[in-house]
């Protein structure tokens, strides 16, 4: 398992295009927003938590089709499916690697981008906390979507259509927590629900992902 994690991380770091791309996308989305809604700090600070959450979600989505497609093409997935390691565990590791290379950098970059959108002072802490709690769920759900579309040619657009509705609860609770934090209200209810969703998806989604991957590989 550790070997698989190390392999995925190395590939993501050295193969290029995967690791930095999500971050760059996040940056560009954030930079484009003021052009769209105007540079008034008052407007921006209201929508900042939501924009940062949506940007992180889209950046996460963007990197999903690389999650399994490359391994599918060179046959690694077939080997993983027949390996003694359960496919559920292999996919959990892959989701973890995806989170470490996409989710975690987004969490760390979010406060910097928050400055660009003049996020109110108390918001930074809760933005980081909510993203740190929520992005693992995005990776795990995304792995399910990637497993679902792995054998399909040009599945990228389909992947977005399938995964985005599944992201709705995570986005609602995550953005709500960040918004309340920015307004100085108590975000704990949303954070608890968000943590619940993340833990439940980490516990259950690998089984669904492995099931669909086995069907897709057959």
């Amino acid at each position: 398992m550790i070997a698989l994690l190390r392999r995925d991380l190395t590939l993501a770091l050295r193969a290029g295009g995967g690791f930095g791309l999500g971050l760059a996308f996040f940056l560009i989305v954030t930079v484009l927003v003021p052009f769209g809604v105007g540079p008034q700090a008052a407007t921006l600070s209201v929508i900042a938590p939501g924009i940062l959450w949506i940007g992180a979600l889209l950046a996460c989505l963007l990197s999903l089709d690389r999650l399994l497609a490359l391994d599918y093409e060179d046959g690694t997935l077939d080997l993983l499916a027949t390996a003694p390691l359960p496919l559920e565990a292999a996919l959990s590791i892959k989701a973890l690697a995806h989170w470490l290379t996409t989710g975690l950098p987004l969490v760390l970059a979010a406060p910097v981008l928050g400055i660009l959108l003049s996020l109110p002072g108390p918001g930074y802490l809760w933005l980081v906390v909510s993203l740190a709690l929520g992005t693992p769920a995005l990776s795990v759900i995304g792995t399910f979507g990637a497993a679902l579309t792995v054998g399909i040619k040009r599945g990228g657009l389909l992947l977005s259509l399938l995964v985005l509705p599944l992201y709705v609860p995570t986005l609602i609770f995550g953005a709500e927590a960040a918004r309340r934090g920015a307004l100085g209200q108590d975000p704990s209810t949303s954070l608890l629900l968000l943590a619940g969703i993340t833990l439940a998806t980490i516990a259950l989604m690998p089984f669904a992902s492995a099931a669909v991957l086995r069907m897709g590989l057959r």
Binding site: L148, G155, L158, V168, V212, G216, R218
Partner: protein
């Protein structure tokens, strides 16, 4: 003679051919009768005027939109557990019907909302949940279209339906948490037996709901029959190609 014997496509087609004329007839009587009764036979509402009459389309469509997904869930489970092809095809056949029902509910709701709430759309929990349900339907249909091997497609869409159901329910409660509603509560709570709709509006509404239910059944049976025949035609073509 158990219900499972109808998993045989020939028996299923035989029964559905026998039942369908009655279903079409009964649903036509109920829908047309209910709508005419509702539109012309009931008085205008005290406050809402004649706009109240859109409920004869809105409520039955919304009801069937949810029940269609529920039916897909059940048939998907049957496919995953017992591998009956008819069941998978019934799920495939129900999805487009469900998506149309969802669209009818959304559009009629918007048309009613414009004079009553003063807006075509509000981010109300019920409206939002229906929009999300609509997206789930689209994803489900798109996945059916994208996978070439029919058995793999049935497998993948079944799992998507199961996972989607969990997330649809989750979204429903998340949305409720996220925004307080404009939409009125349940008018006909089945559990408590009471209802806030007056009899004069309720009976035509009930007739329309029954009619939409029958219409849905008839459409699904018809479309399932089409899918079975398409599958057979593909098999015949494949056999002819191999012989040539």
């Amino acid at each position: 003679m158990s219900i499972w014997s109808y998993a045989n496509p020939v028996k299923f087609l035989g029964l559905s051919a026998k039942v369908q004329p009655f279903l079409w007839g009964a649903s036509a009587i109920c829908v047309v009768g209910g709508l005419i009764w509702g539109f012309f036979g009931t008085p205008d509402d005290f406050r809402q005027g004649s706009t109240v009459k859109i409920i004869y389309l809105h409520v039955p469509a919304a009801l069937m939109a949810i029940n269609a997904w529920f039916m897909m869930l059940v048939t998907s489970l049957i496919w995953l557990i017992r591998r009956h092809h008819v069941s998978a095809l019934a799920a495939k056949a129900a999805a487009p019907v469900g998506v149309v029902m969802t669209l009818i509910a959304l559009v009629t709701g918007a048309i009613w909302g414009q004079p009553m709430w003063g807006t075509w759309w509000a981010w109300d929990p019920r409206l939002t949940s229906f929009l999300i349900l609509f997206l789930f339907y689209l994803g489900y249909i798109a996945l059916w279209e994208a996978v070439e091997d029919p058995d793999t497609a049935a497998d993948l869409t079944s799992i998507l339906c199961l996972v989607g159901s969990v997330f649809a329910v989750l979204s429903r409660y998340a949305v409720q948490f996220w925004n307080q509603g404009l939409h009125q509560g349940t008018s006909i709570p089945v559990a408590t037996g009471g209802r806030s709709v007056a009899d004069v509006f309720f009976y035509p509404l009930l007739m329309c709901m029954v009619g939409f239910g029958l219409l849905f059944l008839a459409l699904v049976l018809y479309r399932t029959g089409t899918e079975i025949r398409l599958r057979r035609a593909a098999a015949l073509r494949a056999r002819a190609g191999r012989a040539a």
